[in-house]
C-alpha cells in the first residue's frame, strides 16, 4: 500500500513538473514576443505617463519570477486573458471551439481503430505477403504526404470532381444555427434535437476531413498492431492453442489479439493526442471551426493571449492523454504491477 502511494505521488509530481514546464514555455514565449503588451492595450499613441501607469497596473514592473507566479495563478484559476480579436475571455472562446476539434479527432480515431487493428492483424498473420506490404506502403505514404495537401486533393477529387463529399465547413449553410448547441458536437446536438436530416448533413461534412486525418492514425495503429501481433504469434502458448486443435481464427483473434489489447489501448490514446495536433492543419483546409483554426487565425492577427491559451490547452490535453495511457497500462496489465 505504501509503495503504491509513493508511486502515485511520484507520478503526480512528474505531471505537475511537466505542466509547470509547459506554463514556463508559454510564459517565456509571451515575454519574448516583439509586441509590447502595454501598447497592445493602449494603442501606439499613448502618453508616456499613461503608459507607465498601465505598465505598473499590468504588473510588468515586477521581477520576472513574480510575473511568472502571477501567470501560473491566473491560469490555474482559468484566466487565460482576453482575446484581442474577439474581445472575449480566451477560455470562453476555447470552450466554444474545442468540441469541433474533439468531434473531428474522435471520428478519426474511430476510423483508425476500426480499420487499423484488423489491417495490422492481417499483416502479421500474412507476414511478407500482400497485406503486409500494403500496410508498409500505407505507412510510408503517411510519413511522406503533407496532411494539408492531402486535404486539398481530397476536396478537389471528392467535392469538385466526383461530388461525393460536401464542401468545407461543418454543415451546409442553410442548416447552420438551426440546432441549439448543447454539447457543441454538431452530430450529437442534432440527434439530441431529433433533427435526423441535420445529423446526416453533419455526418456527411465530417466524413472527408475525418478520413484524411484518420488515414494517419490507421497507418500508425496498423503498424503497431502488426509488430505487437508478430511478437505474440511467436510465443509458445500460441503453439499450444494450435496443438489443442483450436481454429486459426480463434487463435489469432481471441488468444493473440486478447493479449495485445493493453498495449494497443495505450497506442490508441497516444494516437488520439497526435490527432488533436494534426487537426490544426486539417481544420485550416476544411474551414472546420475548431481549436486548430482558432490558433492559426489568432496567430495571423498576432493575438498572443489566444495563441498561448490554445497552446496551453492542446499541451494540457496532450499531457493528460499521455498520463492516461500510462495509467491504463498499469491498471489493465497485471504484469506491470
Amino acid at each position: 500500500m505504501r509503495r503504491l502511494l509513493l508511486r502515485a505521488i511520484g507520478l503526480l509530481v512528474s505531471v505537475a513538473l511537466t505542466v509547470l514546464g509547459l506554463l514556463l514555455v508559454t510564459f517565456l514565449i509571451g515575454r519574448v514576443v516583439p509586441i509590447d503588451p502595454v501598447l497592445a492595450v493602449l494603442g501606439d499613441r499613448a502618453m508616456p505617463d499613461v503608459y507607465e501607469r498601465v505598465r505598473i497596473e499590468m504588473g510588468l514592473d515586477q521581477p520576472l519570477w513574480w510575473q511568472f507566479a502571477v501567470y501560473v495563478g491566473d491560469v490555474l484559476r482559468g484566466d487565460l486573458g482576453q482575446s484581442v480579436l474577439t474581445s472575449r475571455p480566451v477560455l470562453e472562446d476555447i470552450l466554444r471551439v474545442f468540441p469541433a476539434t474533439l468531434e473531428l479527432a474522435t471520428a478519426a480515431v474511430i476510423l483508425g481503430v476500426a480499420l487499423g487493428i484488423p489491417a495490422g492483424v492481417m499483416a502479421a498473420v500474412h507476414q511478407g505477403r500482400w497485406p503486409d506490404h500494403l500496410i508498409r506502403v500505407l505507412g510510408l505514404i503517411g510519413h511522406s504526404v503533407p496532411v494539408f495537401w492531402l486535404g486539398l486533393v481530397g476536396l478537389l477529387v471528392f467535392y469538385a470532381r466526383l461530388d461525393l463529399a460536401p464542401g468545407p465547413g461543418r454543415l451546409d449553410v442553410f442548416y447552420e444555427g438551426l440546432v441549439e448547441p448543447v454539447t457543441g458536437v454538431v452530430t450529437v446536438d442534432a440527434l439530441l434535437a431529433g433533427e435526423t436530416e441535420i445529423f446526416w448533413n453533419a455526418l456527411h461534412h465530417l466524413m472527408l476531413p475525418a478520413a484524411i486525418l484518420g488515414y494517419y492514425s490507421v497507418a500508425y495503429i496498423a503498424r503497431m498492431t502488426r509488430s505487437f501481433m508478430l511478437d505474440q504469434l511467436r510465443q509458445e502458448y500460441i503453439t499450444t492453442a494450435r496443438v489443442k486443435g483450436l481454429s486459426e481464427a480463434r487463435v489469432v483473434w481471441r488468444h493473440a489479439l486478447g493479449n495485445i489489447a493493453v498495449p494497443l489501448t495505450t497506442v490508441v490514446a497516444l494516437s488520439y493526442a497526435t490527432l488533436l495536433e494534426g487537426s490544426v492543419l486539417t481544420e485550416t483546409v476544411f474551414a472546420w471551426p475548431g481549436l486548430g483554426l482558432y490558433i492559426t487565425s489568432s496567430l495571423l492577427s498576432a493575438d498572443m493571449n489566444a495563441v498561448l491559451g490554445g497552446t496551453l490547452v492542446v499541451g494540457g490535453v496532450f499531457i493528460g492523454l499521455n498520463l492516461l495511457s500510462d495509467l491504463l497500462y498499469r491498471i489493465l496489465d497485471p504484469r506491470a504491477k
Binding site: T18, G21, L140, I141, P146, W149, L152, A302, V314
Partner: protein, 304 residues
Amino acid sequence: MSANPNGGSLAGWLTADTPRSRAQARLGRLYRGWQGFTRNGLAMLGLAIVLGLVLMAALAPWLAPYDPYQQDLGRRLIPPGAAHWLGTDAFGRDILSRILHGSRLTLYIVALVTVTAPIAGLAIGTVSGYFGGWVDAALMRITDIALAFPKLILALAFVSALGPGIESAIIAIAITSWPAYARIARAETLTIRHSDFIQAARLQGASSARIILGHVVPLCSSSLIVRVTLDMAGIILTAAGLGFLGLGAQPPLPEWGAMIAAGRQYVLDQWWVATMPGIAIFIVSLGFNLLGDGLRDVLDPKSR
C-alpha cells in the same frame, strides 16, 4: 600483397579478414555496409531521390526554364503543357521553375535543422548519461518535459513569438526536435559508460570532456544518424506546414508549402497550382524515408 589471400584487388583489400590498419578496418566496414545497402532496391531509390534533390538545388538556375519571380499577368493560370510543363500560377510564374528553386529552401531548412538539433541533443544526452547522478536526473527531467509537448503546436507558438519567416521556422523546428536525440544519445552512452576502454582512458588521466568527445560521441553517432535521416521527412513536412499556414517562408519565396497555400483558392478549377508543389514534397519526403529505412538496416541491425 602475398599475405592477402584475396589477391590485390581493391574489394579484396577492403574485405580482408585481418586488416593491417585502423583505416583499412574502417573502410572495410563502410564497404560491407555499402554492399548491404546497394542490395536494398528501395533504399537505393531513396538515395537517388535525395541526390536528385541536391543536384536540383545546386543547378536550379540552369535547369529552370524561366525566372521563378518573373510575373506575367498575360500568362496566368496556364494549364500544364509544352511551354510550361507544370503550368503557371496566379501571377503567371512558371511552376516548374519555382519548384526547382524551392528545392534550395527545402534543403536549406533541412540542413540547418539537422546540424543544430541533433548536436544539441547529442551534447545533452552524452553529458547526462556520462555523469549520471543529479546532472542526469535534472537534464532528463527537462528532456521528458520537452518530449511531452505537442511539437507542431509549440513550433507554432515559437514562430508567433519570433515573427513569421524561414529563420523562425528553422529555430522553432530545431527547438522542438532536440529531446528525441538527447534520449537516444543518453541510452547509447549508458551502455558504454562502464566499458573497460572508458575506464582505461580515465585511468590514463583523460578529462571528462576528452572522453565524451573522443570516445562516447563517435559511438553514439551511428544510431543518431539513422534517426536524423528518418526525421528529415518530418522536418520537411513541418516546414511545409508552417509555410502553408503563412508562418514559414514568406512570398514571393518559392517555398513549396507556401506555394500550396497560394494555389489553395484556385484548387477547384486550376488544380495544378496547389497540386504540383505537394507532389514535390511527397517525392522528397519519400526519398528521405526510404534512405532512412535503408540506413537503419545497415547501421543498426538490431532494430530490424
